[in-house]
Chain length 214, copies 2
Amino acid sequence: MVESASAPRRRGRPRKAGSGDARAAIAEAASAEFAQKGYDAASIRAIARRAEVDAALVHHYFDSKAGLFAEVIRLPVRPDRIVRSAFEVPDERLGESLVRTVLMAWERTTVKSIGVTVLRSAVSDSDAGRLIRQYLLRELKGAIRGRVERTGVERVEADLRATLVLTQMAGALIIRHVLELEPLVSLSVDELTARLAPAVQGHLDGVSAEADDR
Amino acid sequence: MVESASAPRRRGRPRKAGSGDARAAIAEAASAEFAQKGYDAASIRAIARRAEVDAALVHHYFDSKAGLFAEVIRLPVRPDRIVRSAFEVPDERLGESLVRTVLMAWERTTVKSIGVTVLRSAVSDSDAGRLIRQYLLRELKGAIRGRVERTGVERVEADLRATLVLTQMAGALIIRHVLELEPLVSLSVDELTARLAPAVQGHLDGVSAEADDR
DNA sequence: TGTCTAATTCATCATATGATGAATAATGCG
DNA sequence: CGCATTATTCATCATATGATGAATTAGACA
């Protein structure tokens, strides 16, 4: 009776699907661990512990740590696609549409999990960081810049504006979802959208006849 | 003659000040290394290599890695003080003053180096990250909120606005100085200020009679 | 039933890390 | 001069990491 408290697990193939798919469990654990610690700090062993599985099994299914990461981060989320879906609105409502779409997407736990991982890793200096940055920036910024160009702005200016938009969105997402800082965390999507949309729209519209002289 | 190419360094105290202060060299190397990789990923050994010194010497002078970090990050920069110095302007120019002051401060290499370190570490999940976040947010956000309250806004609303300002500033600093993304890197302080100030001012002023219905 | 394959853990490797305690060499004070 | 102090490196520890190959157990299909 007093034996299977934290049983050291028998070797070999388990009888039937004990607790479902071990592979899926690993992927899930990895997702959480990567999101929490970032690529470098997350360890295969910790992931295995979390999935209640031997570390070698991780290698069996996913080969290398990089492989695991790639698989975890891939597929379910296509940031450029999400963003692009916010583009079919008139120019003067673009800011709000973008902000709301992105914030809404991040409410889905899968997006949030991957998003946090990506942001954490992007800020780090690791190889993963570099890769992610490249992809993310080409695709994401490219998409936004494209839409801005369609409002009749020349390339370089559109590029600047897209970057400024990224600036505001990245900051907001980091503070709300990575740092989880109040009061941003508790705000509803609607409230936050109302606050951020004007700023983003301003970036999209560019510097108007604001205080430039003085 | 063919011997001191990359001499394996003699033991014991060197004759007079060979290459100046080793302690200073270590601190400098640490600063760079921390800024580049963040607290966790930076290794004492890499720091020692960079300072061209044995790793044990780092412990001799700074005791522990945490001690080194504390010493490197302390002192020369008081973020809340920098920010506070931007406060003595009329309310409607607060945004521009804040943005310009912060951007100017980050042009100083010492501020930038420490700033990047802090941002990198803050986004990570490590102990260093937690510590830094607490300090940074209490002090920094507190300062901004205080100033906003003085414009006649109640506490909770002021807190929200301060956080939104942080949102925009953090995003901009990360993209300009941590990720070093064009075209933000090449913009002059004046140009960037012109772009960011309206957004920040908007956050400070709160949601005006903007598109709220519909 | 017998054999192949898949799922799982175990035992190890090579490497990197932070840390500690000598050992060695020069300086400086008495 | 002699002796304490300081600056510096060397040799090691204990631990963690990613990775690999073998061992063990069960299912599947003939």
